[in-house]
């Protein structure tokens, strides 16, 4: 047939992108509940991962905020134990000697008055000490440890000579004292002390939270305090902190440097954070498992969708859809499904993070990489889950597909 050579060349038309999306959404529109449920599986996985990353980031942002407010240049020198296991004592001169180290900016001290127990009143049995400790405190303590007063006032040159006490946050709660007032009195070492102030929690010196802080002179005169400091708080120039740290023990107690423990409280906080980050990694893994389960759900939905829609596939083939266009349709459906789940999951995860952060008074932080990574993961999952069903759909013989009742 000579006319054959003159026939125009046949070529399948390309579908416009909007048509690809709208045809990909056919299955979702006709079975909204199923689409919702399988998208929900993805959403839960992504939400878990975004929330875990978000909460952990918010916590570390909170810590950074705390540390930058409190400073990381605090070194704590505390009396340890002697070789014989007894409680060591630091010399009276420890404070002034440390002050002479060049880069040291400030020094303050407290001393544990172990014998003086704290009670709400004289009626409380002696054994019920409530785990509180009495400290004799220097007047310049607060700025050095970064503590602030919640109620009342800090000790001053007058009140340090009299039975006046400032309670740590935990101690105040245990004693049931909400605010400083002349009527609020506690019994320390058998002497009535008036509560003149209550502190906020002190993150860099947590031992003070359960402490009852009294003046150095009054402790000596009324509580049989020997005057030896037990903990020295030292602020030093940040760049030379390590060199200060190395000489602190020898300076504080030249006779027995081994009886002195030197620590950097901000390191402890950071280490705590690192521990919780290891836990974050674990939770992230759990979120990942949830995501994979969600992906299996999408794959399952797609396989069923292809089985159910064989007549539709046959019809589309008869209308001129190429194998590639059928494949694209089901891949697009799978991608839409998981993208919806991913977007929902990011929203839920962000909501949880913001809610948690606001409740915990932390700055809410949702890292962009977590959001981008989550969405990317859903697209990969959608593609992987949809690939096999899509290929199966495209390989269906049109006549068999049409013959399906």
């Amino acid at each position: 047939m000579s006319a054959h050579d003159a026939l125009p060349r046949l070529a399948a038309a390309r579908m416009h992108f909007t048509d690809v999306v709208s045809v990909g959404g056919v299955g979702l529109r006709t079975r909204p509940l199923r689409a919702f449920l399988s998208a929900l599986g993805i959403a839960i996985g992504i939400a878990a991962m975004v929330a875990v990353v978000g909460i952990s980031s918010s916590s570390s942002a909170g810590l950074d905020r705390t540390l930058s407010a409190l400073g990381t240049n605090l070194l704590t020198v505390s009396a340890g134990t002697t070789l014989l296991g007894e409680e060591a004592k630091m010399p009276f001169e420890a404070e002034s000697m440390i002050e002479r180290i060049g880069p040291v900016e400030a020094v303050s001290a407290v001393a544990k008055v172990a014998a003086a127990k704290v009670y709400r009143s004289e009626q409380i049995p002696e054994q019920q000490t409530g785990g509180m400790t009495t400290y004799a405190a220097r007047l310049d303590l607060l700025p050095v440890v970064g503590a602030t007063v919640r109620s009342g006032a800090w000790l001053n040159a007058a009140t340090e000579n009299y039975p006046a006490v400032v309670l740590g946050a935990t101690a105040a709660r245990r004693l049931g004292i909400g605010a400083a007032s002349p009527d609020a009195q506690v019994v320390i070492g058998g002497v009535r002390f008036t509560v003149v102030g209550i502190l906020n929690p002190v993150p860099l010196a947590e031992e003070l939270d359960s402490g009852a802080l009294v003046g150095w002179p009054v402790a000596q005169s009324r509580l049989d305090f020997d005057g030896h400091p037990t903990v020295l708080y030292t602020r030093a120039e940040e760049p030379r902190l390590e060199s200060v740290r190395s000489v602190l023990a020898g300076t504080a107690n030249p006779q027995a440097p081994n009886e002195v423990d030197v620590s950097r409280p901000s390191d402890v906080l950071t280490a705590k954070q690192a521990t919780s980050q290891a836990f974050t990694g674990l939770l992230l893994g759990v979120g990942g498992v949830a995501l994979i389960v969600g992906g299996v759900g999408v794959a399952n939905t797609m396989v069923i969708s292809v089985l159910e829609r064989r007549p539709e596939i046959g019809l589309r083939r008869s209308l001129g859809a190429t194998r590639g266009q059928i494949r694209t349709q089901f891949l697009a459906e799978s991608l839409l499904l998981s993208a919806m789940g991913g977007a929902g999951g990011v929203l839920i995860g962000s909501g949880v993070t913001v809610g948690y952060a606001l409740a915990q008074d932390l700055p809410p932080v949702i890292p962009g990489w977590a959001v981008a990574g989550g969405l990317l993961a859903t697209l990969v999952i959608g593609a992987v889950a949809g690939l096999y069903p899509a290929i199966r759909a495209s390989r269906l013989s049109p006549t068999e597909a049409l013959a399906t009742p």
């Binding site: 047939m1 006319a3 046949l10 019809l315 008869s318 006549t399």
Partner: protein, 235 residues
């Protein structure tokens, strides 16, 4: 016309397992014909329609549609042939549920590369042509069987293909609706479309200009055979 609309030469189709649905069929259908293919079930008439519609490839022989040799075309070229040259009408309509008639018809043009607005415009025109201009926004469940088949016919002809293949188009309809659908197909043919109708209903077949009878995968009678053979001899 330099070539017939449909040209089958010694076409056979054997399914895996040894079932022979077509056993060497030769048939020419010219542009503008209205042909009934009649036969009992299992006679191979559906396989022949699928082969003509390029949904199925023969295992032997040559199929030419509008001059194109089906065996030489790739899947994507065959799809293009279906999208532009062939309209299908099925016994069970194959309409998408919960989708308005106009969109069901417009979907028939999805694979032609037309923009959505153009598809909908043509769909509305095709629905008017089949007498459903007042039912554009009705969903399939709001239409009678006869109306649904009219929607399906509108979908088949919306792209103005030169060839329409109808597989038992009245099989699921009562006789009054069936007569209406046949009347519509006759009108489309009068406007120039080549139409091939599969039916087991001899009465319907008798009302059409040409009947091809089939049995056991072979053509047993063709009311236009002498002319076809003559043209074959002349070539």
């Amino acid at each position: 016309m330099t070539h017939p609309m449909i040209s089958l030469r010694n076409v056979s189709r054997t399914y895996p397992g040894g079932v022979t649905a077509l056993a060497g069929v030769s048939l020419d259908i010219a542009h503008g014909e209205l042909v009934a293919i009649v036969g009992p079930s299992g006679s191979g008439k559906s396989t022949m329609l699928n082969t003509i519609g390029t949904l199925d490839r023969p295992t032997g022989g040559t199929v030419r549609i509008d001059g194109y040799d089906v065996a030489e075309l790739s899947d994507s070229q065959l799809s293009a042939l279906r999208a532009t040259r062939i309209g299908f009408v099925f016994q069970h309509f194959h309409l998408a549920a919960k989708v308005p008639a106009v969109d069901n018809v417009a979907d028939g043009l999805l694979y032609t590369g037309m923009r959505k607005a153009e598809r909908r415009r043509r769909a509305a025109a095709a629905l008017k042509r089949v007498g459903l201009g007042h039912r554009l926004d009705h969903e399939p469940h709001e239409l009678s069987g006869g109306e649904r088949q009219r929607v399906a016919i509108a979908r088949a002809v919306a792209g103005e293909p030169p060839l329409v293949l109808a597989d038992e188009p009245t099989g699921a309809l009562d006789s009054a609706s069936g007569a209406g659908v046949m009347e519509l197909l006759r009108e489309l043919n009068a406007a120039g479309t080549t139409i091939v109708i599969i039916t087991h209903d001899r009465e319907i077949a008798a009302g059409l200009p040409r009947q091809v009878h089939m049995r056991d995968g072979r053509i047993t009678a063709d009311s236009a055979a002498p002319r076809e053979l003559a043209s074959e001899a002349a070539r």
